[in-house]
């Protein structure tokens, strides 16, 4: 598959803004998505650990983490829409080919994800009092976690197959005989997949540090539970962090020849250093975790480290495809469309910030007022009014610009 063929597979409509914008948004949104996935996997694993334990603290944690996992599944799915969108914009020849070559798995992805989600809900419905009563139908949670890992594996393979254009023809027609079944998963890297999955442990640890700080702020009286959380979070961050970095090193050491440049890439090295800082942060901060926003800062630094990992991952793809195959994602034909570009950025920056800011402020503060019905301050309520107003304005603009287009 030479460069000419790859370019022939590109969409002739071009892209409505400079390709770099989509590339950067792809990195940012992938980092957010993978963070949600890792919280989901980490929380699910903690639910299982708690479901098999008789200790009260573990059972209480399992209850909390079950709610976290349920929400994280939906957040991961919703946020995942964005990187899925942007990969199709810039890397359509690669993404679509990879998908068609494994078509059955692509459809299976949806069905397996639904099954995993329903299994998690099944466990939730079977255990309304998980904190105090023995866990029932633990197999549901095990099944859920297994299916979530499986869909992660499918997504890994689809992304990885993109990087092997020279093999596509062979996968499509092995020995010249067409195999249109789409039943194969053709290329994978266990170490690469393992690295992203193993990161769930330190991410879950950072999440627990934040949960603990949140409980402190809400006046949690069970000091032993807080101490349990602190111990567990540190262990997850340190051991999980070391394990992740070890698997990451293994990935770099076993890179195929054409990707060997990535082992010494400053992007990947910077990402690993940032990960190291993030996992060591709770130890470095010590007692400061008890005060101010430090407890939340660990997850924040972790998120920055994940953005660096996402950037490194993108650099691997971009550099490989442009260097080895001559496909430069940044020379995509641009059919600049200012209206839709500005609509997105204004919606994202203004409406999104105000509305999400309002919702998260209410969610946060109500959680900190556990004993009484929470009434937001006037300042917060004002944001709520603006949110409704901005949504109404957005809808009005939609119709106005539509009618203008119709009569123009």
């Amino acid at each position: 598959m030479n460069a000419e063929m790859l370019y022939a597979l590109r969409d002739p409509a071009g892209v409505p803004s400079h390709p770099l914008v989509f590339l950067l948004l792809g990195v940012l949104t992938f980092a957010l998505h993978i963070a949600a996935v890792q919280v989901m996997l980490g929380a699910s694993a903690l639910v299982l650990r708690g479901a098999f334990s008789d200790q009260l603290h573990w059972r209480r944690l399992a209850t909390t983490m079950l709610n976290t996992a349920k929400i994280a599944v939906s957040v991961a799915i919703v946020i995942g829409v964005a990187p899925l969108l942007f990969v199709q914009v810039l890397y359509d020849p690669f993404w679509y080919t990879s998908n068609v070559l494994s078509a059955r798995w692509v459809i299976g992805f949806i069905l397996l994800l639904i099954a995993g989600y329903i299994a998690m809900y099944g466990f939730y419905w079977r255990n309304p009092q998980l904190a105090t009563k023995p866990a029932r139908s633990r197999w549901m949670m095990m099944l859920s976690l297994a299916l979530l890992l499986l869909v992660g594996w499918i997504m890994h393979v689809l992304s990885y197959q993109m990087l092997w254009p020279e093999q596509w023809q062979q996968w499509y027609a092995p020995q010249g005989r067409i195999d249109a079944s789409g039943s194969g998963l053709h290329a994978y890297s266990v170490a690469r997949f393992g690295f992203f999955i193993a990161l769930s442990a330190p991410v879950a640890g950072a999440w627990l540090v934040a949960v603990r700080r949140y409980l402190q702020g809400a006046g949690e009286g069970d000091a032993a539970y807080l101490a349990f959380l602190a111990r567990l979070a540190r262990r997850l961050m340190l051991l999980g962090g070391v394990l992740s970095l070890a698997i990451g090193a293994l990935w770099l050491l076993t890179l195929p020849e054409k990707m060997a440049f990535f082992a010494s890439s400053p992007w990947m090295l910077a990402a690993l250093v940032l990960l190291l800082v993030a996992v060591a942060l709770p130890t470095l901060l010590g007692d400061r975790l008890e005060r101010g926003l430090w407890g939340y800062g660990v997850f924040g630094v972790g998120a920055v480290a994940l953005i660096a990992v996402a950037a490194a991952r993108e650099m691997l793809r971009y550099t490989l495809l442009s260097g080895v195959y001559g496909y430069d994602a940044l020379d995509y034909k641009t059919n600049m469309d200012w209206y839709s570009t500005l609509t997105f950025f204004i919606t994202f920056g203004v409406l999104g910030s105000v509305t999400l800011g309002y919702l998260l402020a209410v969610a946060w503060q109500s959680g900190q007022h556990r004993s009484a019905v929470y009434t937001p301050s006037l300042a917060v309520t004002r944001f709520g009014r603006w949110s409704v107003g901005l949504l109404v304005v957005w809808i009005a603009h939609y119709f106005l610009i539509g009618f203008y287009t119709m009569v123009r």
Partner: protein, 450 residues
């Protein structure tokens, strides 16, 4: 598969939006009449009706992407490359929705009622904006909003057309029908008979009015279809289509009339079954019709269902691939043609035919004896390669067949494809002398059916 996933997606997403509107109304009632106990309903049933259905809707939404990616990669690519920013904008609303949906359920009774109501309003408005966005993209998939889009390009010209607003009106009405149906599931559980009757009556009226409005909007929508779609509908949709649609509308009306007349008949089981039945039977015909009407195109009236760019779009710098295929043949212009099949020989003719069938027919026709529109069925067991080849070149190469894309086959390609099609004939038919080919002749006026 695309149709099934799309139907399931609309089932869950509409359930979620319908529930959100109903719960917002219930929250208003609870606030105005000082009835905090009704917030308990939001908490109790919100987890299933709102959250569960919302998440399944949000899985099957990208699921439509996934299924269309494998069924029609260039079709979905065309939509994505024209509307990436609109989809990204919708994503912002998705993120607001997912936060809002959990707050609506988890914070019911834990925050003051006005704030809860405001969150319900935000969720409802946000859900509606996602519909506003996707409607324009779906409309473009059928026809670019303005004819000038072909000459000028531009997002607005592609997005907005009379069809966009007709479809929006239809789906908005249907959304309120969903609110009425889903609301019934919760209302069925109210213990207070007076309140239950009051809510049921309101829901029934909402259902009757919205269904009637939806039926009117459907007429409007059908009136906005271009002539080609009218011809396709008249020729390709089964005779039972219109009566089925009318029966579904009548059934929805009857359901609401009955629940208004005898609210006690409204049980959770009845309401739940009604929700699923009405949605599936109401949605499936629409999905089928939408898939058929735009043929032979799959997106924007320039991408054929077999993934070939079939029309110049100067406004976007897009050029038709047909002239190049006409000049060089499909096998030499398709990127994925196996190297051994680029030149047809007696030894590889069958295989080349299989590749041609896979690349030009299989998007719409199953190559086995089962599945969607099996290819072999259209040739009635004919095994005469020359006849089939003649038909392919007469009817398809010229683009003279309604509903079918123009497939400019070279002589040897037509022969290869015919050889493969002949090989699909069931053994019994293959053993018989080849029957005349009554279906293969091109009608005098140049239009025939495959």
């Amino acid at each position: 598969m695309v149709g099934i996933i799309a139907t399931v997606h609309v089932l869950f997403s509409h359930t979620s939006v319908g529930a959100a509107i109903f719960f917002a109304g219930l929250a208003v009632y609870a606030d105005r009449n000082d009835k905090p106990e009704y917030l308990e309903f939001i908490r109790r049933y919100g987890m299933f009706l709102l959250v569960f259905s919302y998440v399944l809707g949000s899985i099957t939404g990208p699921g439509i992407w996934f299924s269309t990616t494998v069924a029609s990669p260039r079709g979905i690519s065309a939509l994505i490359h024209s509307f990436v920013w609109k989809w990204a904008t919708e994503w912002v609303f998705f993120v607001i929705e997912v936060v809002g949906v959990y707050m609506l359920v988890y914070l019911a009774g834990k925050i003051d009622r006005k704030t809860h109501l405001r969150i319900a309003v935000i969720f409802g408005l946000t859900s509606y904006t996602t519909m506003l966005v996707i409607i324009g993209i779906l409309s473009f998939m059928m026809w670019p909003g303005q004819e000038r889009w072909f000459a000028e390009g531009g997002y607005l010209n592609g997005f907005y057309g009379v069809n966009t607003f007709a479809q929006l009106g239809m789906r908005t009405a249907f959304m309120f029908t969903m609110t009425a149906v889903v609301g019934g599931i919760v209302a069925a559980r109210f213990d207070d008979p007076v309140f239950k009757k009051a809510v049921t009556t309101r829901l029934s009226w909402l259902g009757i009015v919205s269904t009637s409005a939806g039926a009117a909007m459907l007429q409007w929508y059908l009136g906005t279809l271009p002539e080609t779609a009218q011809v396709v509908m008249a020729n390709r949709l089964p005779d039972r289509f219109a009566p089925t649609l009318l029966a579904v509308l009548a059934a929805i009306g009857a359901y609401f009339a009955i629940t208004m007349w005898k609210p006690r008949l409204l049980t959770p089981a009845v309401a739940s079954v009604a929700t699923v039945v009405l949605l599936v039977f109401g949605l499936w015909p629409e999905e089928v019709a939408r898939e058929s009407m735009r043929k032979p195109f799959v997106a924007g009236q320039y991408v054929y269902s077999n993934q070939i760019i079939a029309r110049d779009v100067p406004g976007m710098g897009i050029t038709s691939e047909i002239p190049r295929i006409e000049a060089h043949g499909l096998l030499k212009t398709q990127v994925f043609t196996p190297p051994g099949l680029r030149e047809i020989t007696p030894d590889n003719r069958l295989q080349a035919g299989q590749f041609l069938a896979l690349s030009t027919c299989s998007n719409c026709h199953s190559l086995s004896s089962t599945g969607m529109r099996p290819l072999a069925r259209y040739f009635g067991g004919n095994t005469d390669v020359a006849e089939i080849s003649q038909y392919l070149q007469a009817a398809l190469s010229t683009g003279a067949t309604i509903y079918m894309p123009r497939i400019p086959l070279q002589d040897d390609e037509a022969q290869a494809l015919a050889t493969y099609i002949a090989s699909l004939a069931p053994p019994k038919a293959a053993a018989r002398p080849a029957p005349p080919a009554p279906k293969l002749a091109v009608a005098a006026q140049g239009i025939t059916q495959p």
